[in-house]
């Protein structure tokens, strides 16, 4: 652990000479923690990829309390870390207050829009990817009933659900979509047991494909779907490998790419509003050797067709968050 020692001694020196510029990037994880197999972990993987490729190092912190959000931002900014990347909408309020105090530092926030000249706001068109996997779910389903299991009931997750339903209905207008949310608090992001129960309940109502947009809760959904011999759809990272032959596909939200790009641009981080969607590869569905036998050529052709249409703008998927309503149920 010589690396760690080096880290510590520089840190001690740094505490004394705070303000000495070192332009390492920094990454702040949300309260969910670094290894959640989903959102935060994707961010960490992106940062690690950057570090491996560039040979650079980055600072990171897993938060313990709400008061530390602002503290971590300010301390990293004062120590000269640049850019500072943070994951999660919960940083929105704090960053809005902190960013103007450090005009020379660049910030990147994922899943939230903060309007400041030195902030890059990265948001994802999750509804587009959910539409694509919704189409696949409808084609793979034999019962005509598919399920959706969300994490915490917030507009962002309804956006996933709404895109998914639109995709299902585009293929089979008569299909039934059963929707459940795991909970109303952040604990819903990490409750695989409840995810498993909801999956069983949906199966008993006839669902034979379930889409989990629920962070760590999705682990339980995918597990139960595999145990009960129905198909599931993963989210955020490529989760096909978790149960080969049982996971139809994964809706990939390339948080890792967003973090990787932000760190690669370094101090010259391009600020402003940054949308990652199907058109620029920020959103995609996962294909690999684990799900190849499940996806027919016909299915693939239809989904890729829709993907091209979305990318070209010919097909517009309704975004729930634009008006807090969904045209289809």
């Amino acid at each position: 652990m010589t690396f760690v020692h080096k880290f510590l001694s520089t840190a001690a020196a740094l505490a004394l000479s705070a303000g000495a510029a070192l332009s390492e990037p920094a990454l702040i994880f949300d309260l969910g923690g670094k290894f959640d197999k989903s959102f935060n972990e994707a961010a960490f993987n992106g940062a690690k990829r950057w570090a491996d490729e560039s040979g650079g190092t980055f600072r990171e912190i897993e938060l313990q309390s709400e008061a530390q959000r602002e503290q971590a931002l300010r301390r990293f900014a004062e120590a000269g870390a640049n850019p500072i990347v943070m994951t999660g909408f919960a940083f929105g309020n704090v960053l809005g207050e902190v960013a103007p105090d450090y005009p020379d530092t660049k910030f990147a926030i994922i899943d939230m829009v903060v309007d400041a000249p030195n902030v890059r706001s990265v948001v994802f068109n999750e509804h587009e990817g959910s539409y694509l996997v919704g189409m696949m779910a409808a084609m793979a389903s034999t019962s005509g009933t598919v399920g959706f299991i969300g994490g915490m009931d917030i507009p962002l997750i309804r956006k996933f659900a709404c895109g998914y339903v639109q995709g299902v209905k585009a293929v089979n207008p008569d299909a039934t979509v059963i929707q459940n949310m795991t909970g109303t608090t952040p604990a819903a992001w990490n409750d695989p047991v409840k995810g498993s129960e909801l999956t069983k309940a949906q199966i008993s109502q006839g669902a034979d494909v379930v889409y989990a947009a629920a962070g760590g809760t999705g682990v339980g959904v995918l597990q139960t779907a595999a145990d009960e011999n129905i198909l599931s759809i993963g989210v955020d990272s490529n989760q096909n490998y978790m149960h080969p032959g049982k996971v139809l596909t994964s809706m990939m939200k390339r948080v890792d790419n967003a973090v990787y790009e932000a760190m690669k641009m370094g101090e010259n981080l391009e600020t402003g509003f940054n949308v990652m969607g199907v058109a620029n590869g920020g959103i995609d569905y996962a294909m690999d050797e684990h799900n190849a036998p499940l996806v027919s050529d016909e299915m693939k052709a239809a989904v890729d067709g829709a993907k091209d249409q979305i990318a070209s703008g010919a097909l517009a998927v309704h975004d729930y968050m634009s008006d807090n309503a969904c045209p289809v149920e």
């Binding site: 652990m1 760690v4 020692h5 880290f7 510590l8 001694s9 840190a11 001690a12 740094l14 505490a15 004394l16 705070a18 600072r59 912190i61 897993e62 313990q64 309390s65 709400e66 008061a67 530390q68 602002e70 503290q71 971590a72 300010r74 301390r75 990293f76 909408f89 919960a90 309020n93 902190v98 105090d101 009931d153 917030i154 507009p155 962002l156 109303t184 608090t185 952040p186 968050m321 807090n324």
Partner: protein
């Protein structure tokens, strides 16, 4: 007969306990391949050598003072109030309602209003367990800890379904209006040339916490009610024989305790977040138990212990920022301090007592 001089009881015992905890923590840090001296230096530098560090240390200390006093007052009546967490959550609800729905013209009035609301809500949450203890003999430890869960669920329901602004993702209330903003240490102590306490959340409620320490001291040792509480704590039958109503003392002591715990929310909710969030207490209610134990239920002791725990919290945050010591290990270090100063108090006390006795015999 006093076995030890008072100074040894109040200062020497906690100090030796702390030293032992620090030694063991050092061993743990060595165990994961880090340098304990550098880590300790980092904690001191980050928490005590910068004004912003003090700002955080005192911010956390404010919370711990209130919850520590809450536990201490109940201790004097020989009751173990471990519901500080829930009472503080409800206090937060009171603060939020006061700040959101009353048009305060100035912060000085707003803080009085929110203090009152926090005390009322916190005390109300302690009232039911208090009544159950006094009248039905339901054990206070069981009921208060259950009320922590009820408080969390209630707050969850209200924040998600009632108080959350339309379209917001966080289960939290809207931001409080500008006039309720409490002056932070930065606002109070910075001059035009030097900015002190930059970005740190310590605010005027720290002085309320200090005031609360003084008032609790007056209450316990200088009033009739305080005497009743202590008498009841030492022996219930004796107190009853002296004409002290056990029901009244149980209820009143717990109401004061709940009100003090509720006051903590003024610091976190109005002073720091300026909106009510789901997890605004963050375990301070439980840390209060350790603070009261370490402070021997004396307000001065609580004050000092709260500052120590504030230092541990802020120093821990510094470790997380600048080293690769994982956050779980920082909790281990904090737990070791609690273990030695709170739970293993007698381990240090008994040998010391023996030492002092033998010294006295020789002398």
């Amino acid at each position: 007969m006093q076995k030890m001089p008072a100074w040894a009881d109040a200062i020497l015992v906690p100090l030796i306990s702390l030293l032992l905890a620090a030694l063991l923590s050092g061993l743990v840090i060595i165990g994961i391949g880090e340098d304990p001296i550098a880590a300790f230096k980092l904690m001191v530098d980050g928490a005590l050598m910068r004004s912003a560090g003090w700002g955080y240390t005192l911010y956390y200390a404010t919370n711990f003072m209130f919850t520590g006093l809450a536990v201490a007052v109940a201790f004097h009546a020989r009751m173990f109030n471990i519901g500080g967490e829930g009472q503080a959550m409800l206090g937060g609800l009171g603060v939020a309602l006061a700040c959101l729905y009353v048009p305060w013209p100035h912060w000085s009035l707003a803080i009085l209003g929110s203090c009152l609301a926090a005390m009322l809500f916190g005390a109300a949450w302690a009232l039911i367990p208090a009544w159950l203890q006094a009248k039905r003999g339901s054990h206070i430890v069981i009921t208060t800890i259950m009320f922590n869960f009820i408080a969390a669920s209630l707050l969850n329901y209200l924040l998600v379904n009632v108080l959350r602004p339309q379209g917001a993702m966080d289960p939290a209330t809207a931001k409080f209006p500008e006039p309720t903003h409490l002056p932070t240490f930065r606002d109070m102590f910075s001059t035009s040339e030097t900015i002190l306490f930059r970005g740190s959340p310590a605010n005027v409620s720290f002085f309320f916490a200090v005031l609360a320490c003084v008032l609790v001291w007056l209450l316990i040792w200088r009033t009739r009610l305080g005497y009743d509480i202590r008498a009841f704590g030492h022996s219930e039958p004796a107190a009853q024989y002296a004409g002290i109503s056990p029901v009244r003392i149980t209820v009143v002591a717990l109401l004061i305790s709940g009100a003090l715990a509720g006051l903590m929310a003024v610091n976190t909710t109005q002073g720091e977040a300026e909106r009510l969030i789901l997890n605004s207490t963050e375990g301070a209610g439980f840390i209060g138990i350790a603070v009261a134990l370490m402070g021997r239920s004396h307000p001065l002791g609580v004050f000092l212990a709260a500052i120590l725990f504030g230092f541990l919290y802020q120093g821990g945050a510094e470790l997380a920022l600048w080293t690769n010591i994982p956050r779980e290990l920082i909790v281990v270090i904090q737990a070791l301090v609690i273990l030695f100063t709170g739970a293993l108090d007698n381990m240090v006390r008994m040998p010391l007592e023996r030492l002092f006795l033998s010294l006295r015999r020789e002398g």
